[in-house]
């Protein structure tokens, strides 16, 4: 039997000792910071709400409040510690990576591009509005807009002074009424005052433009319509739109235009194939863009070739820059080297020049007859007219631009390797190169491997290096779309934006495919580099 003794409290002899204050230094500051931060988030959410509600943007409203709620829940409470660290990063990831990818994927299911930027309703309105034709020989009118009601909503009346014979009219949607010049005040042949009417200032006319432009004063030969601030012209339009049957009819000759599908979009076309307008509208096309990207015969032929060259280009860019950067870093890392700082600054210069400028300047160097390279070396190579030389030029330029980055990275990584490891190896009798191969290089690779993967991914999609240097040249005469130095991204940019206007829906589909491709390659590479982690 275990005896438990409960400590007996001593009889109170004096006042109870005060409880030791808990040392939580900085709690108040942290709390205030937290309050201000959360208050800002909540305040922003509340401030934006009326605008979003006014514009009917329910999805955005929901997102804003979800983010505000998440922030509150995570930071106001004491628990959920991991979430406090992860939340900002995750939010930014969602906002700047996931959301754009989602929007691109959404665009890839539409036919968005040049000619299809608007909704069908806007297109119809524009087609009808722009079909107004001036009546020949009709005079122009000096117009003054007036109202008996409010200056913003109307109803508006147009006072018109014919520029041909200075007769004065009053025009409303009901019709044209001749009035005597004595009933109004005329200054410089324009009506400046009329009893019972408020004359609108130019700003007011401009502000109410939408309503004023709808006014068409019917006349025998058409209608008088406002033009700008102080003119009106007589014009006719023969097109009428019938919403029920989705037809535009030309009342002059009775031709009916209905939407007819052509390619991935619809145009208003008559029964005998005449198109009313080149304007089309935004429509959903499902997976047609992907189908086209994957099955179009021209794209498929070129795709494999270009894909292989893209991989080769990215690999060679990484390999050459890494080897040169590493070589220079190792050489300059030697403590016996003098003037290290000078050399390092000089070697960083190519990286300091903006890429755009270097590429444009280098493309000038490669000019066959007038370029620097051919004149200095005495060669007569057509750099951009032969596929082999163009590819060499691209790799060389990329090497020049990229090796300083690898140089800096390797310098840092080399300095991080403890020198006692190398000394130990030297004591064991390892030569310089063996030291490098067995000790330095593996340790270096652990640090640098993720950067190599990132550089590969960057060069896989290095649009600038190709577009600014060669624009994809050289091109075979029967294949103007795919050039000898084209990589996937420059090829698809040309497909989507080159000829025939921008095809943004198609480009989005290809972006999604490239995203998947690059992601898969990067994932494979990362798995391969995991083996390096065993080294440490």
């Amino acid at each position: 039997m275990v005896a438990t003794t409960t400590p007996t409290r001593p009889a109170s002899t004096g006042p109870e000792p005060a409880p030791t204050p808990v040392r939580r230094s900085g709690t108040t500051t942290a709390l205030i910071a937290k309050v201000i931060g959360l208050g800002l988030v909540l305040g922003l959410a509340i401030a934006i709400t009326p605008t979003l509600v006014g514009q009917g943007r329910w999805a955005f409203l929901a997102i804003v409040w979800v983010i505000a709620a998440l922030a509150l829940l995570t930071y106001a409470g004491k628990r959920a510690l991991p979430a406090k660290y992860i939340l900002p990063g995750t939010l930014l990831l969602a906002l700047f990576v996931i959301y754009p990818v989602a929007m691109t994927a959404k665009a890839s299911t539409t036919n968005f591009g040049d000619g299809t930027r608007q909704s069908q309703q806007e297109t119809v309105v524009q087609i009808i509005a722009s079909s107004v034709v001036q009546t020949p020989d009709a005079p122009r009118y000096t117009m003054t807009v007036a109202t008996e009601g409010s200056v913003t909503d109307g109803p508006f009346t147009l006072f018109l002074v014919s520029q041909a014979d200075q007769s004065v009219f009053k025009g409303t949607p009901e019709g044209l009424e001749t009035i005597s010049p004595r009933d109004v005040t005329l200054t410089n042949n324009a009506v400046t005052a009329a009893p019972g009417y408020t004359i609108l200032t130019p700003q007011q006319v401009n502000a109410a433009n939408a309503k004023i432009n709808d006014i068409a004063v019917p006349t025998e030969r058409g209608a008088i319509r406002p033009l700008g601030i102080r003119q009106a012209f007589e014009g006719t339009t023969t097109l009428k739109y019938d919403e029920a049957t989705d037809t535009i009819t030309d009342t002059q000759n009775g031709t009916e235009y209905k939407p007819v599908k052509s390619g991935d979009r619809e145009y208003y076309t008559s029964a005998d194939g005449k198109r009313l307008s080149d304007q089309s509208w935004l429509a959903n096309v499902g997976f047609d863009n992907f189908q086209r990207a994957l099955t179009d015969s021209t794209i498929r032929q070129d795709f494999i070739k270009i894909f292989i060259w893209t991989v080769v280009f990215a690999t060679m860019s990484v390999a050459t820059t890494f080897l040169l950067g590493l070589g220079l870093a190792s050489t300059l890392n030697d403590p016996r080297m003098k003037g290290q700082r000078l050399y390092r600054s000089l070697l960083l210069l190519p990286y300091a020049v903006p890429g755009f400028i270097s590429l444009l300047v280098w493309s000038g160097f490669f000019n066959k007859d007038f370029g620097l390279i051919n004149s200095l070396t005495g060669l007569d190579i057509g750099w951009f007219t032969s596929t082999f030389w163009a590819r060499t030029a691209v790799v060389l330029t990329n090497l020049w631009m990229g090796f300083p980055y690898m140089f800096i990275v390797c310098t840092g990584a080399l300095q991080a390797i403890p020198s006692d490891l190398k000394e130990a190896a030297a004591i064991d009798g390892a030569s310089g190169f063996t030291q490098f191969r067995k000790i330095t290089f593996p340790l270096l690779l652990v640090t640098v491997a993720p950067l190599l993967v990132a550089t590969f991914a960057f060069n896989f999609n290095n649009y600038n290096a190709i577009a600014l240097l060669t624009e994809g040249a050289p091109f075979a005469p029967d294949n103007p779309a795919a050039g000898g130095t084209d990589i996937l991204i420059s090829y698809t940019m040309r497909l989507a934006f080159g000829a025939g206007g921008a095809q943004l829906g198609f480009a989005s589909a290809i972006s999604v495919l490239l995203f998947v491709l690059t992601g898969v390659i990067a994932a494979i590479q990362f798995r391969a580099t995991r083996a390096l982690e065993d080294v440490n």
Binding site: V35, L42, R117, S130, F475, P477, G500, A502
Partner: protein, 438 residues
């Protein structure tokens, strides 16, 4: 009394909340005026310019233009502003004005008025981005007919022309004192000068590695080729493609003879980067270029003269493209009334057109101004004549399918590819592309 942190927190939170509620003035996002400098970064994102998309500034009338014309437009716009009591802002968009405009306009952030070339019209109309102008016929009679024809599309006037430019033949008068009657004469004189060691290049007709269909057009038309036939209404007909037909094949053969496997007059190493500079530096006998080359040539101080591009001996006359610059009215601008007023009344005067010429130095489209300027300035007179004798660039959307493949075909032929097969297959490629995009 020491307020507990919890109470403090609740109080502060409540205060902040009420501040948010009270000052909930939903100010319309005041757009920042961007200058659209193509500040590029060799970033991982494959964007060609890497710059922020321009948006309209906060003024009653916003005009977008490029650097060349901004100085000319600003005083005219300012005067319009003071005359009508409104604020006007001229924004300079230095790169990609057309693409930026279409995107901004679709989003409702575009300008009210902008300047541009006439061959944008097809694309702008198909995007519903511009509104037709309603300028009366008698006012339009004061402009060169070719400029009005160029800015008229499907029988509607879409832009007020203020200048038109076309290619002409510059010659170095130290080497070629007289205007050559045919292009063959010019080449003969040039080649003699090259042999004598006076110049490095006989004729600078820029092509580059990817070719340049715009600069090659005089050669194409002189040999009887054409790009698009015309419909009965006078518009270009996308179904009648001239590439691959007889005239273009004859032109291709001629280019082959002049190319790198022939007399080496046409070379791919002469491109937009060095063509004008070489002529201005006295290294070339002749140069085919437009009025934009004048400032460089005049600054270099060589003795030069300009004449219209002649045709080849025994062939048709050369017809270079005429490019017309004009003022457009955006379809979704916030101030349509002011925009129409500005273009139709403020820009449509002799003073404004004279000011545009003084600032931008583009040969004027308004006859009165062209006559006045041409009287003092023979170079401008030649350019005006050359433009009047040219053909407007086709503005139809199908034209955008032509530039690149045709340019690349020219470049390949200069490099020695077989002219007939190259031109025929290019014609097939272009027709297929036009058919695909409808």
């Amino acid at each position: 009394m020491r307020i507990s942190p919890r109470v403090l927190a609740v109080l502060a939170g409540a205060t902040l909340l009420t501040t948010a509620c009270g000052g909930g003035d939903t100010a319309t996002p005041s757009a920042s005026s961007a200058s659209g400098d193509a500040s590029a970064s060799a970033s991982a994102a494959p964007s060609s310019t890497g710059s922020a998309a321009p948006v309209r500034s906060n003024a009653d009338l916003v005009i977008w233009t490029d650097e060349l014309k901004a100085a000319a437009v600003k005083p005219i716009a300012a005067k319009f502003g003071t005359d009508n009591g409104i604020t006007v802002d001229v924004q300079v968009i230095s790169a990609d004005l057309q693409a930026n405009f279409v995107t901004a306009n679709a989003a409702g952030n575009g300008p009210d008025v902008f300047t541009g070339a006439h061959d944008w019209i097809g694309n702008l109309v198909q995007n519903g981005a511009i509104a037709p102008l309603q300028i009366s016929a008698d006012k339009l009679a004061g402009y060169a007919p070719i400029s009005v024809a160029a800015t008229t599309y499907q029988s509607k006037l879409y832009a007020l022309p203020f200048g038109f430019e076309s290619l002409a033949l510059y010659r170095n008068t130290a080497i070629a004192p007289d205007a050559p009657k045919t292009l063959d004469d010019a080449i003969k004189v040039g080649e003699a000068a090259v042999k004598a060691g006076k110049v490095e290049s006989a004729l600078n007709l820029q092509q580059g590695d990817n070719g340049d269909a715009y600069h090659m057009e005089p050669v194409l038309t002189s040999m009887g080729g054409y790009l698009f036939g015309k419909t009965s209404a006078g518009d270009y007909d996308p179904k009648d493609l001239g590439v691959g037909k007889e005239g273009s094949l004859a032109a291709a053969k001629k280019i082959y003879e002049l190319g790198e496997k022939g007399s080496k007059v046409l070379r791919r190493s002469i491109s937009a980067d060095n063509s004008i500079a070489l002529f201005a530096g006295g290294k070339s006998a002749f140069l085919v270029s437009g009025p934009w080359a004048l400032p460089d040539v005049q600054k270099a101080g060589i003795k030069y003269a300009i004449s219209p591009v002649p045709g080849f001996a025994g062939q048709k006359p050369a017809k270079p493209f005429a490019g017309v610059q004009g003022f457009y009215v955006a379809s979704k601008g916030k101030n349509q009334a002011f925009a129409q007023e500005f273009v139709a009344n403020a820009m449509n005067t002799e003073e404004s057109m004279q000011a545009m010429y003084d600032g931008a130095k583009i040969p004027p489209a308004m006859n009165a101004v062209a006559d006045k300027v041409g009287a003092d300035n023979p170079d401008v007179r030649v350019f005006v004549e050359a433009a009047k004798a040219g053909d407007p660039m086709p503005a139809i959307p199908a034209m955008s399918e032509v530039w690149e493949p045709l340019g690349k075909a020219y470049s390949a032929i200069i490099g020695g590819a077989d002219p007939t097969t190259t031109m025929t297959s290019t014609g097939k490629t272009i027709s297929a592309a036009i058919a695909k995009t409808g």
